[in-house]
């Protein structure tokens, strides 16, 4: 008990040692730069309401920057706004606008380099080039930020939340709207991405590469220019995300390229041109997802192996599954298919005849894209019917041996 008391006292002494500096347009300290200059390690700088044009603010000290009533920090379309190079820095509750556009540098509203324990929260970032850009950072938390840009062309805008070579980052409750890529990760590991909204971005809502062992939960990805593309990663977990309205030619709800040992679970894919497009993916699990009103449910390229698709719902998709090869190295089991026409004699809820999710015509289209002009013609209808009765061209082994009769109750 005494030890605890002493500890408490020390803590009190330490915290009283930390000074609080107040920046205000009418006060003694008029600029944030000045405050940082005066501050010592561990100090807090409060920035009151005002319009600050200070160019590039370099935070090379361990300080806590807190905005009061959202002071506006203006980059005048010329500068990066905050550049953090020290550990344990907090940037909270600022309104950051007009970040400079550069072809050489990735200027951001809040940039962090070689730092750890950063805390970036509650900022409103508008018209930024890059929004939040962390490079070689560790153990940081990015939460409750709102990023809005009105990107017109891909080369005049950057990514919303951009991370490079970082570890143990948490990104949660952020909203990214209208950037190039909503969330962009490269060489980011052991991170958690939760509850974010990424919509109306020019290119991808979420885009990552070489980012292993990351977890994506309960995010919403909606109406992004090219959907979502994730590549060259292993150990990815995606749970309870929503992929919606990613519609257009070569737009994908979720494009997976060389993803392995991953888990895609309980997600909702609604009205995408292609809900999941998979290329060279291995040993991944797809369970409990709902595919609804998509053009294609899953486009499974023959280069994928050892993936398991089980207990998913396929409802009202134009094509449930497409593939380009005859060999199947994946397992499809116990899914619900609304196109299933089989019966269940012993009423155990499992259909007695296997379901072939790949139709002949979807194979023809995969091989000869031009033949899509015959879509919905009588000929195609007849061909599909004939193939259903006696499968010749469609992969014999690509089938669900135990299709369930009733859809799973998936509520996301």
């Amino acid at each position: 008990m005494r030890l605890f008391f002493i500890l408490y006292l020390t803590f009190l002494a330490m915290s009283s040692m930390a000074t609080t500096w107040t920046v205000s347009p009418s006060g003694e300290i008029k600029t944030i730069k000045k405050a940082i200059q005066l501050a010592d390690k561990g100090d807090t700088i409060l920035v009151t309401k005002g319009h600050y044009k200070e160019g590039n603010i370099i935070v090379a000290k361990e300080v806590v920057l807190i905005g009061i009533d959202y002071p506006v920090i203006d980059g005048e379309y010329k500068y990066e706004v905050f550049t953090i190079t020290a550990d344990n820095v907090t940037v909270r509750s600022f309104s950051i606008i007009n970040v400079g556009i550069s072809s050489l540098n990735d200027w951001a509203a809040i940039g962090g380099e070689n730092a750890k324990n950063l805390y970036i929260a509650n900022n409103k970032i508008e018209r930024a080039f890059f929004g939040i850009h962390l490079a070689n950072c560790k153990s940081s938390l990015v939460e409750n930020n709102t990023l809005t840009a009105a990107a017109v062309a891909e080369n005049t805008t950057g990514n919303g939340i951009h991370m490079w070579k970082s570890d143990k980052i948490t990104v949660r409750n952020n909203t990214v709207d209208g950037h190039r890529d909503g969330i962009y990760f490269e060489f980011v590991t052991n991170s958690l991405i939760e509850n974010n909204t990424s919509k109306n971005n020019l290119r991808y809502g979420l885009h990552f590469m070489f980012s292993h062992d990351d977890e994506y939960n309960e995010n919403l990805f909606m109406n992004n220019g090219a959907g979502i593309a994730v590549m060259y990663s292993r150990g990815v977990t995606m749970r309870r995300n929503r992929f919606e309205e990613n519609w257009g030619a070569s737009v994908f709800g979720l494009l997976l390229k060389e993803i392995s040992e991953s888990m895609i679970e309980d997600n909702l894919f609604l009205r995408n041109t292609v809900a999941i497009y998979m290329e060279a993916c291995s040993r991944s699990n797809f369970r409990g997802n709902e595919f609804r009103e998509n053009g294609w449910g899953i486009k499974l390229q023959a280069s994928c192996d050892d993936n398991v698709f089980e207990k998913n719902n396929f409802i009202a998709n134009s094509f449930d599954m497409g593939t380009n090869g005859s060999m199947t190295l994946n397992t499809i089991d116990s899914n619900y298919w609304d196109k299933y026409g089989g019966y269940d004699l012993n009423s155990d809820g499992v259909g007695d005849v296997p379901f072939h999710p790949v139709s002949l015509y979807s194979m023809i289209v995969e091989k000869m894209p031009t033949s899509v002009m015959l879509w919905r013609s009588f000929l195609v209808f007849l061909l599909d019917r004939a193939e259903k009765v006696i499968p010749v061209v469609t992969p014999e082994n690509l089938k669900d041996e135990a299709p369930v009769m009733k859809s799973y109750d998936i509520s996301i």
């Binding site: 519609w247 257009g248 030619a249 070569s250 737009v251 041109t273 053009g295 294609w296 009202a316 134009s318 023809i364 289209v365 091989k367 000869m368 894209p369 031009t370 033949s371 899509v372 002009m373 015959l374 879509w375 919905r376 013609s377 009588f378 000929l379 195609v380 209808f381 007849l382």
Partner: protein, 255 residues
Amino acid sequence: MIKIAKYVLLDILRNRFVILYTFFLFLVTLSMFSLEGNSDKAILSLLNIILMVVPLVSIIFTTIHFFNSYEFIELLLSQPINRKAIFLSEFSAVSIALCLAYVIGVGVPVTLFSQGMDTVYLIISGMLLTLVFVALAFCASVLTRDKAKGIGVSLLFWFYFTLIYDGFVLYVIYAFNDYPLDKVTLALVSLNPVDLARIIILLKLDISALMGYTGAFYKQFFGSSMGIIYSFVFLLIWAALPLSISLRKFLKKDI
């Protein structure tokens, strides 16, 4: 000419078949819309029926009608009436009857449920398809002597346009898959009224994204006002061509 057309039209309406056809279309359209919540989806399902049933009914009904009124035509020919007038009034009467059936059976209920450009296209292309197949039926009837043969040729036409032609197209695509075929298939589409109608309506519904590069190419073409004019003009040509062939044949035919 109008007098004859009016008489033939009344005769057809008294026949009850057209009324039955109207009723059938009406029922199918209503049930499609009540089964599918989404009007786009309902139009898609309806499309299949329109592309099959409308041509089939149009061509068979017209052929049967022509041979049934053979004696009436003979009677008219014995009168001092222009052959051309008789033929055209027969054609216009049948087309009006079937188009009316289509508009009442499909057009009215569809407009009740959805009012978009796709609906307009659905109605216009359905009517044009009716015209095309009525003209083809006249062609088949004039070219043959007896009813059985006439119906046979009509059915052959129908098979050709809804099935055989598409098979041929698929074969062409398969055989020349290594070449860029988009423009070729565009030309091939124009040579079949059923395909033309199908693609116009498909492109109007928001599913062309599914059709990949080819879809984008078609959309660029058919999406422009020139493309729309092109496709409707082509459908009209498809009606006019068999009509003029059969008219020429009819003028010289020994009845």
